[in-house]
């Protein structure tokens, strides 16, 4: 017990001075310091989540406009159309359509998912779950948020410049994204905004990686960390390695657009031209790891939640963690599968094909471990659990579609069809969407210290889960039938005309999904401001954040905890009074907890 004593005790890994180093600072008192320029990771997490949710709404509204145009081409968009598309009588014009799908993708990836899962839950969960008082560099943390705000400002401003926002797709392939394809400021501002968002992400990543390496509470080895922290940490590592590559692509694009360089332009007129494909290389060297950057936090959260709500230790915890590591490593060497149709050498293509398919092996291991975790568990179907099971389902379906795309002969047909759109929405959009809500509902009591309505949350789950599956599975079907992505009006083409009913069907369900978020919005706002006081540990789980009050005090832990168990200590036969055990909690009735045998399971 005296291991808890104040002062320079050393953790098992030999570092001393956890307490001297993590002083308890007095609570900030002014409004500005407390809510605006706060350096408290919990406040910054909330700021990121509010920002991300706002952009989720904007990006979602854009998706509705896209789907409206595909369902009712040439008809004015209802209600807000006459303001948004004032120049074209409320009709989504071709140029507006191109901007819409470009900005929808950009916003969802860099301004919705990234802030919510990485900026928000990365910030909230990492220090709390590893038993730290804050991030290791609080000032950097604050700057990271404000950099993201500046970047968001530039992005929003780009809608109002002459010739409108960027319109070269979220992938911004050259030469579409050079001055030839998209003159005007919009595309340049896109590049600047992405660069700044990248800086913000890198600041966050440096902070997260260092925090996990240096601030784990005594006793918490890497393999005692919750899988959530594993997911967030690996995401941060991938971010640190690959976001700079996107940054480089952005810089070169800015050079090309403003200083007249020729990195991405070539042609018979220019001797010694650059290479448009260079942009695709740089983009996908970043872009493929990026898809795992986005999904890894959700994987981590789901791996934990499935164990928490099955009341069982996560099956093969170490294997799960290590297969996430393996996926990260492999994700660095498969980017070529996005470029099969760019006249790459067949040998290289086959190499990328094999490597891509190998990724499915660790992905499958992860998936089977999830199955084994819930298998014969005493499941509690709470709202976070429902969302987690939803992630398992959509990721299972989406992951399988990846294999078709990885196969070159099939990809030659499927590339740039709605099959790809279905694939990445199933894996990325749907899985991360559901994963974000699993996280929001799970940590809501801790974050805001209030309870939300479980009934509304479950309603929200079904109103999200059913439409999401219908929408994106239908996209797989329509893509398999050959419909190309990014078409303004597919009905203009004889061969796509007969698909109009299916397009309309997808749109109907998309609108359902959009309005299905109303229970969430109502529930969220009502509970944040007027929910009942939440308990300290409403879900009865053992990770460290649940051993302190909800919401946690400014300095999180009065005493830095001394960790003696793994994160999923359920139904330990040595514990007779309850079915869970805190990570820093000694087995009730025994003198010391250090020599605990692993539970049979």
């Amino acid at each position: 017990m005296d291991a808890h004593a104040h002062g320079g005790h050393s953790g098992p890994d030999g570092h001393g001075g956890y307490h001297e180093e993590q002083h308890i600072h007095p609570d900030p008192t002014t409004f500005l310091r407390k809510y605006v320029f706060s350096m408290d990771h919990k406040v910054i997490a909330k700021q990121f989540i509010w920002l991300g949710l706002a952009f989720l709404f904007i990006g979602g509204t854009m998706a509705m406009m896209i789907r409206w145009q595909l369902a009712y081409p040439g008809e004015p968009f209802p209600v807000i159309g006459k303001w948004v598309f004032a120049g074209s009588n409320g009709i989504v014009s071709p140029s507006a359509y191109t901007s819409l799908f470009t900005m929808h993708g950009t916003i969802m990836i860099f301004f919705a998912i990234t802030p919510i899962m990485i900026g928000g839950f990365g910030n909230f969960c990492i220090p709390l779950m590893i038993g730290a008082r804050d991030m290791i560099f609080p000032l950097l943390n604050m700057l990271s948020f404000w950099m993201q705000m500046i970047s968001s400002g530039v992005l929003i401003a780009s809608f109002f410049v002459p010739m409108g926002a960027a319109a070269a797709g979220w992938t911004s392939y050259a030469t579409l994204s050079t001055n030839i394809g998209t003159p005007g400021w919009g595309q340049t501002m896109w590049a600047i905004s992405i660069f700044l968002a990248g800086i913000s992400t890198i600041m966050g990543a440096v902070n997260y990686i260092t925090t996990v390496i240096r601030l784990r509470a005594p006793g918490m080895g890497y393999f005692q960390m919750p899988l959530t922290v594993w997911g967030l940490w690996l995401t941060a590592i991938l971010n640190a390695l690959f976001v700079p590559v996107l940054g480089a692509a952005g810089i070169l694009l800015i050079f090309d657009r403003t200083f007249g360089t020729h990195f991405f332009m070539t042609g018979t007129m220019i001797k010694g031209g650059g290479d448009p494909l260079l942009f695709q290389h740089l983009f996908w060297i970043f872009g493929h790891p990026e898809v795992y950057i986005l999904i890894l936090p959700a994987w981590g959260v789901v791996s934990d939640l499935l164990a928490f709500f099955s009341r069982k230790p996560a099956y093969a915890y170490k294997v799960t963690a290590l297969s996430m590591v393996a996926i990260c490593v492999l994700s660095a060497v498969v980017y070529g599968h996005h470029m099969y149709v760019t006249t790459m050498s067949p040998l290289l293509g086959e190499g990328f094909m094999v490597l891509t398919m190998i990724i499915s092996v660790p992905a499958m291991v992860l998936f089977l471990n999830w199955m084994k975790t819930v298998w014969k568990g005493s499941m509690r179907l709470t709202s976070p659990m429902l969302f987690s099971l939803g992630v398992v389902f959509v990721f299972g379906v989406g992951g399988l579609t990846g294999l078709y795309l990885a196969d070159i002969p099939q990809d030659l047909y499927l590339h740039d069809t709605y099959f790809v759109v279905g694939h990445f929405h199933m894996t990325m959009a749907a899985a991360v969407f559901l994963g974000s809500f699993a996280s929001i509902y799970f940590w809501f009591p801790k974050m805001f210290g209030r309870q939300f309505s479980e009934g509304l949350a479950k309603l929200h789950f079904w109103l999200s889960f059913i439409p999401i599956n219908i929408i994106f599975c239908s996209m797989l079907v329509i893509g398999n039938a050959g419909m190309q992505r990014r078409l303004y009006n597919p009905n203009d083409y004889e061969m796509f005309k007969h698909m109009h009913p299916l397009n309309r069907w997808i749109s109907m369900w998309a609108f359902t999904l959009f309005f299905g978020q109303i229970p969430f919005i109502y529930n969220f706002f009502k509970s944040v401001f007027a929910g009942k006081q939440a308990e300290m540990n409403p879900w009865q789980v053992g990770t460290l954040e649940w051993s302190i009050p909800s919401p946690p005090p400014h300095h999180n832990f009065d005493e830095i905890p001394h960790v003696i168990h793994g994160p999923h200590e359920y139904n330990n036969p040595a514990v007779t009074t309850k079915d869970w055990l805190g990570q820093a909690e000694e087995i009730p009735g025994t003198g010391g907890g250090a020599a605990v045998s692993k539970p049979a399971n």
Binding site: H15, G16, G17, E20, E21, I136, F137, L140, I202, A205, V206, N207, I209, T210, I213, R214, A240, L241, F242, V243, P244, V245, G247, A248, A249, I251, L252, F255, D256, F259, G260, T261, H262, F263, T266, I270, K271, G272, G273, G274, D275, L277, L278, H281, L282, I285
Partner: protein
């Protein structure tokens, strides 16, 4: 004891928070290395696409002045290494000397770089001439921006060095800027080899 001290120079034990920021700085430099790595990738890619280099038959870039400049930048790094060693062995005078030296060499580097850009620009190679110009101006300007930031960093250290704020125990920010400069220096050497020599 003295014998041991002769072999292993004395170093004050590092505070935990210094190690923290050291680790953070290493990770940051790692990310930034990826950014420059991507730029070198771009260079390699366009080199592979162009059988002739320089492509439009223009004169290759000069080597003599840039080589001199490379040495100047290395001297800035050496000066900073000297400064770090001085603060670690409690020689505040050496710290000041090293920082001033680095400031002088760093500024000289930018001045000489200005001369190189000017003469090449007047010689007719512009960023928009062809990919040769794009690569040359794009990479060197982006690097020069980093030197500029590094100079700002040294200037930010000067008040502390002059007022004796840094001592054997507390000099983390000196160490970070020295790391940053070494990094910028290594990048420059690679850039010199690729952009000018090869």
């Amino acid at each position: 004891m003295t014998a041991l001290n002769d072999i292993v120079p004395f170093r004050a034990p590092r505070r935990r928070s210094d190690t923290n920021s050291f680790v953070g700085m290493l990770i940051f430099l790692g990310t930034w290395a990826m950014m420059f790595g991507a730029l070198f990738f771009a260079y390699a890619e366009v080199r592979l696409k162009n059988a002739e280099w320089p492509p439009s038959g223009e004169a290759p870039l000069p080597i003599a002045l840039p080589l001199l400049n490379t040495i100047v930048l290395m001297l800035a790094s050496v000066a900073l290494g000297f400064a770090l060693k001085a603060v670690r062995t409690a020689h505040p005078g050496g710290l000041r000397l090293g920082l001033f030296g680095a400031l002088v060499f760093g500024s000289l580097f930018l001045a000489l770089q200005m001369v190189v850009w000017r003469s090449i620009y007047l010689g007719g190679l512009k960023p928009s001439t062809d990919i040769y110009g794009s690569v040359f101006y794009g990479l060197t300007c982006f690097h020069a921006l980093h030197v500029l930031v590094g100079l700002g960093g040294i200037i930010s250290l000067l008040p502390g060095a002059l007022s004796g704020k840094f001592n054997v125990q507390r000099h983390a920010s000196v160490r970070h800027w020295v790391m940053y400069w070494h990094f910028v220096d290594v990048v420059w050497v690679l850039m010199f080899v690729t952009v000018y020599v090869l």
